[in-house]
Amino acid sequence: MFLEFLLFEIKLRLKSISTWCFFGLWVLLTFLLVGASNYTMPPGKTLINGPFVTQLLDFQLSFFGAIVMASIFGTSILRDFQRDTYQIVFTKPIGKFAYLGGRWAGSLVITLFVFTGIPIGEMLGASAPWVDHTRLAPLNLGMLAYHYAVIVAPQIFFLGSVFFLVAALTRRVFVVYLQGVTLFAVYLIGLIAVQQTRSLNPYWPSVFDPVGLLLFRSTVRYWTVSEQNTLWIPFNGMFLWNRVVWCSVGLTALLAVLLLFPMSAEALTARRSKRQKKVEQESTAPPAPRFHNLLPPVSTHFSLATGIQQFFSLSRIYFNNIFREIPFWAITFLMVVTCLVNGHFAGQVNDANVWPVTYLMLQAVEGISPLLLYLIATMYAGELVWRERDTHFEQIHDALPFRSWIDTFSKLTALAAAELFLLTLVLFTGILSQIASGYYRFELGQYAEELYLIVFSQVLIFALLAFFTQTIVANKFIGHGIVIGVFLLSIVLDTAGLSDRLYMYGDVVPYTYSDMNGYGHYVKPIFWSTTYWLAWAVLLGVLASLLARRGAETGLRTRLRGARQSLPAYSALLIIPLLGIVGSGAWYYYNTHILNPFLTDKDARVLQANYEKLYKKYERAPIPKITAVDTAVNIYPENRSFSATGTYTAVNESGVPISDIYVTNGRRSVRAISFDRPASATLGDKKNGFWIYHLTTPLEPGGRHSNSLPVRVRESRLP
């Protein structure tokens, strides 16, 4: 019986796409993280596929994987209640241990399988041809297996069992959704709290660290590079006790489930039936026969005004869809709590207590909020797009006389309204925290500018991507996965140095705000990159409207055909964002690729390597020593640039005649150079910024010469 449930669970999961998606996601992420390890891993001699990296990946991805664990363990119990099969299952003679145990064990096996994506991705990443081979060690399956067994497996056991317990006892979907998120937020708050204690070796916090990040940091903090490359994480001390503590918690959770889970269908749905009052029996008297219809007359009207009325009515309904949902309020609550906690620490900069001025407060409360805002956008884009079909209301809805774009637009408006509401809450928590610290200069304009203009735009950009994805993809949860995947991928690619802001979706220029300079020179780049991505987002929104599901046939091909027919009506709506994309994209491209060429870290290193290869030979060559500099400088603070003309006077103190003067121009700021005696350029390497001028008459030892150069530096490179 137990075996039956176990095998059923495993078979069901293996047939489900989500299992393979999770697995693939882990492989891909780890592959990228390891394969791009030149940029993501500690630099120097740490082995790319050594123990340290394995440990790091195992701990970190187990943390992020909490959501995956919640999903797998939670849904295994929920399935019978979501799909209403519990009445069939629980009226059969099944044993509690077999049912619960089978489901739990099946989930455990599958989760263990999914997480093997981590070591597999690591192996694949290490074998990528472009990886630095001097930092690779031979494949050590034992090492990978050991760390998987002591780091990942206990995490899965403990977290999975707790999630299983919660799902089994509450039997509600949103709890499954929320478990992972709550763990994140609570854990991050805990981390902040521990950091504030500034303790160098937190023993007890490490032992009681449920996720392991603090434990890991404490364990390997003082390891040298050679230790990082050879030591397997020692199964003793802090680490051992941590595993013992949390595995016992897992075991307790399992025992609790076994004892507390009621095996009768009645008890399981007691909550549901309590809510449902028994329906009164309706009267069985024969109805009076009717002869004609007595409905009052109505007049219908279809004009722009009707369209507006429809828009408002729809928006109100969709708004309620979001605002009456418990998960929304739970995430909101989480966000407010983390903002308040962060806000409390906003006035502490590097151990000094400062007034929590608005820009500092904004930095603090913004901390995790964007993540939660993105989470809301992802979740509710899915809920809104699928609303009619999830509630099985689509046949009535789609036959109503409204224009399809009004429906899409109302859904987007509701989503935007929800995000604005959350941003306003962030604003209030900021102000509250400032009041709590006794600081009353709330610069509301600054709050508004930052939150409503800049952050809101970014959230909108992301929300429209989620909306578009959910319109195209046939399954809401695959849609969620894709959106989250894009988000994670952009982070990974960014650290791998593979990102160009023009094609990394939603990548807006990072900036620093200062009270002295405001947004300073970041204004233009922020404006143009935000406009660029907003234009893309609007385009995606229009496409989502064009391809919206309506009617009984919603296959993508059918919708594409229908879209082709509606294209002329949409042409204006499509052309405007396209113009926006081309316009702002062109400005951005011009400034980052042509005016000041965009250099990734990699490019910069290659340049430096070339320079050394070509010109290292001149390192020890004799050069005259500069003894006097005379410059006239013009500073242009608005442009962050200056121009100058300078004269160097140099003396030959080397004791031998010097005939070659070497000029480096790494910042490409020197426009010309003139000497006080005849000289000609024998080498002019513009790319590497190196010139050699040959003096017609060599400079005798003790002789002095001067040269003058106009310099112009314009800091216009975009970050």
Binding site: P296, P297, H301, N320, T391, H392, Q395
Partner: protein
């Protein structure tokens, strides 16, 4: 204001031919569409309700092409689908108000009047402020017909409306349907023959996507008059004997024994007694003769 269906065909991607060159004309008043499960009734209903397109053929509502003018049709349409769910946490009244706006009822006063009237006529007035998700099956169905009647529709489509309702509910529902104005097209699609018998002056029978009978139930019954006989059998052999000799129309259980109804132009005698033809007999006979063909 007739609804003309001309040569409608539809084949689903999995190969099922849902509609096969179907042609039909439906005029004002109640029209019954009968057919077994999978005959294509719902496909036809959804096509007329502008929810899907046919592969070929035309539907003309008062001369206007339905497929090409979906919005215009939707403005006159009242549609009650076979199965539908409801939004959670919203009351019947709020939902009806919202749907009234969606159907273009401009003035708030008119909306209030029609919503209140419909709630009373469907006996939902007492429960109007309760959430739709708490409604029983019968109440949900009544809500469904209420929303279909909101904006004085000229074309009303009800798809399997009485399935799952208890007899009293069913009675009330049919009563409501029958009271609708004379100059409205009402298409009642069902596999419950009794509903058509009670309500519809005209009907059509569909099987395997094809039209197999069209006309007035009264005329069809008249044609069968004195052609239906009934006998009770108790054993396998008795049944075998009957079915070998005569055309069996239907077999029913009557208080535990099997009643066999046969169709015969001449009196069969021995044990058979003549009975009045029921619409069910028309239904079964028509479907079975199609199978033979």
């Amino acid at each position: 204001m007739p609804l003309e269906i001309r040569g409608l065909s539809k084949r689903y991607p999995n190969g099922v031919q849902a509609l096969d060159n179907l042609s039909l004309t439906i005029g004002n008043n109640m029209f019954g569409l009968l057919g077994p499960n999978g005959a294509g009734k719902s496909t036809l209903m959804r096509t007329i309700a502008t929810l899907q397109d046919p592969d070929s053929g035309q539907i003309l509502l008062n001369g206007m092409d339905v497929v090409a003018n979906k919005d215009a049709v939707r403005r006159q349409l009242g549609y009650l689908p076979q199965e539908f769910g409801v939004y959670p946490r919203i009351s019947a009244m709020d939902m009806l108000h919202h749907l009234a706006v969606m159907k273009g009822i401009h003035k708030a006063s008119e909306r209030k009047e029609i919503v209140d009237a419909l709630l009373r006529q469907t006996n939902l007035w007492d429960a109007r402020k309760k959430a739709l998700s708490t409604y029983s099956g019968g109440m949900k169905q009544r809500f469904g017909i209420a929303q279909a009647l909101l904006a004085d529709p000229k074309l009303i489509i009800v798809d399997e409306p009485t399935a799952g309702l208890d007899p009293a509910e069913r009675n009330r529902f049919l009563n409501l349907l029958s009271s609708l104005a004379r100059d409205v097209i009402v298409i009642l699609s069902t596999h419950i023959v009794e509903d058509v018998r009670e309500l519809c002056p005209r009907m059509a029978i569909i099987s395997n996507g094809r039209l197999v009978l069209e006309g007035a139930p009264d005329e069809a019954l008249e044609r069968l008059r004195s052609g239906i006989y009934s006998i009770l059998v108790k054993t396998e052999e008795e049944f075998a004997a009957v079915s070998a000799k005569y055309q069996v129309v239907s077999t029913k259980l009557l208080g535990g024994a099997h009643e066999i109804r046969i169709h015969s132009d001449t009196a069969p005698g021995d044990g058979f007694r003549p009975v009045d033809p029921a619409l069910e007999d028309v239904y079964f006979l028509t479907l079975n003769s199609q199978k033979v063909n």
